[in-house]
């Protein structure tokens, strides 16, 4: 198959203990190949596209309704005229999110996934064909709202940002460990609602992320009060600066 992912493909018959031996005419082959290796190759290919054009690519993931599109709307407004932002947005059926984002003056490509509950590297690659990457500073990929499936698929992003709205409860990192383990940054969204949710403890949410051996900062954020927006924008600016991008003042 390939050398790059360490996959081994041998046509030498091997016997593996604990399983009934191969009958005459049958051969048992040792493979040891990642089942999602094809996706990982495609993701690496996307990443090369992003790097070639010096685009910062961010995969936004959360449960449905945690505020991904609202965060993007606020981010676009905060960075207006400073950075070129483009969004690829996945949704099962509608074009609603792309339309919302276009009203803020950015290019937004909608991917309708039909029955598929996650984006994969190939559908993102396909969407990239509709986009000129050269002028873009930040490409946001708004994943399908789902805390399970998107976690298994690398898209070629540089960073994963996972949103956990305070209405969902501070134990979600423990319930969806694969997703929260993958986060480079966790945004505790809708923080304006905290006064109504005495059961949500931001430090417990942070503790649950740490238990996943993840050092990702957990930041309270609200697009209603603007709490956390400075921190979020500063994080983006830091990631952009690491790619040599200063923005238009």
């Amino acid at each position: 198959m390939c050398d790059s992912c360490g996959c081994v493909l041998t046509s030498e018959p091997v016997s593996i203990d604990g399983h009934h031996g191969a009958a005459p005419g049958q051969r048992e082959l040792s493979i040891l190949h990642g089942i999602l290796a094809d996706n990982n190759h495609a993701a690496q290919h996307n990443r090369e596209h992003f790097n070639l054009h010096n685009v910062l690519a961010i995969n936004l993931m959360s449960a449905p309704g945690s505020g991904k599109t609202a965060l993007l709307e606020a981010t676009i407004d905060a960075f207006a005229g400073q950075y070129n932002i483009t969004v690829v947005v996945g949704d099962l059926a509608t074009e609603n999110d792309a339309n919302r984002l276009r009203r803020h003056g950015v290019q937004a490509v909608q991917i309708n996934t039909g029955n598929t509950c996650h984006l994969d590297a190939a559908v993102v690659h396909h969407a990239l064909h509709d986009i000129a990457l050269e002028p873009i500073d930040i490409l946001f990929i708004e994943n399908v709202g789902n805390l399970v499936c998107p976690a298994a698929y690398d898209l070629g992003q540089h960073f994963n940002v996972v949103l956990l709205s305070v209405v969902e409860g501070d134990d979600k990192p423990a319930k969806y460990p694969v997703m929260f383990r993958s986060a480079d940054l966790v945004l505790l969204t809708k923080s304006d609602l905290l006064p109504h949710l005495p059961g949500f403890d931001p430090s417990a949410a942070e503790e649950n992320v740490r238990r996943l051996a993840n050092a990702a900062p957990t930041v309270l954020l609200s697009v209603v009060t603007g709490e956390g927006m400075t921190h979020w924008c500063a994080q983006l600016t830091t990631w952009l600066a690491a790619r040599g991008k200063k923005g238009t003042p």
Partner: protein, 113 residues
């Protein structure tokens, strides 16, 4: 549920392996899955019964080995077992650990004819 997509990727690999080895079909498949792979073994088995229909793996049996989670502590340097939602060091309790195993999703072996 993305286990059907995962099965489709698995079937693609089986088709390639069968072609490369000039075999006719697949009898048995062994997969290794860790709790941190993001793929559920129970749903994977269920999805496979659908995904295999009409393919070279139509009559294949799928067995899934569970890869246990092992971590190495960056503070005390020791290794040990952990669970998916608590990857802390089993010796000193610190959270700064490195996952050594438990996130694999591998096609381990196939039996062809």
């Amino acid at each position: 549920m993305h286990e059907l997509s995962v099965c489709q990727a698995l079937i693609e690999q089986l088709i390639t392996i069968v072609a490369e080895n000039q075999a006719r079909s697949v009898h048995h498949i062994k997969v290794c899955n860790g709790p941190l792979s993001g793929v559920d073994s129970h749903f994977l088995k269920q999805a496979f019964t659908v995904a295999r229909l009409g393919t070279v793996a139509e009559h294949a049996e799928l067995s899934i080995d569970r890869e246990p989670i092992q971590v190495r502590c960056s503070v005390c340097g020791q290794e040990g077992g952990a669970t998916a939602n608590s990857l802390v060091c089993p010796h000193c309790g610190d959270w700064r650990t490195e996952v050594l195993s438990g996130d694999a999703l591998l096609l381990v072996s196939v039996e062809l004819s």
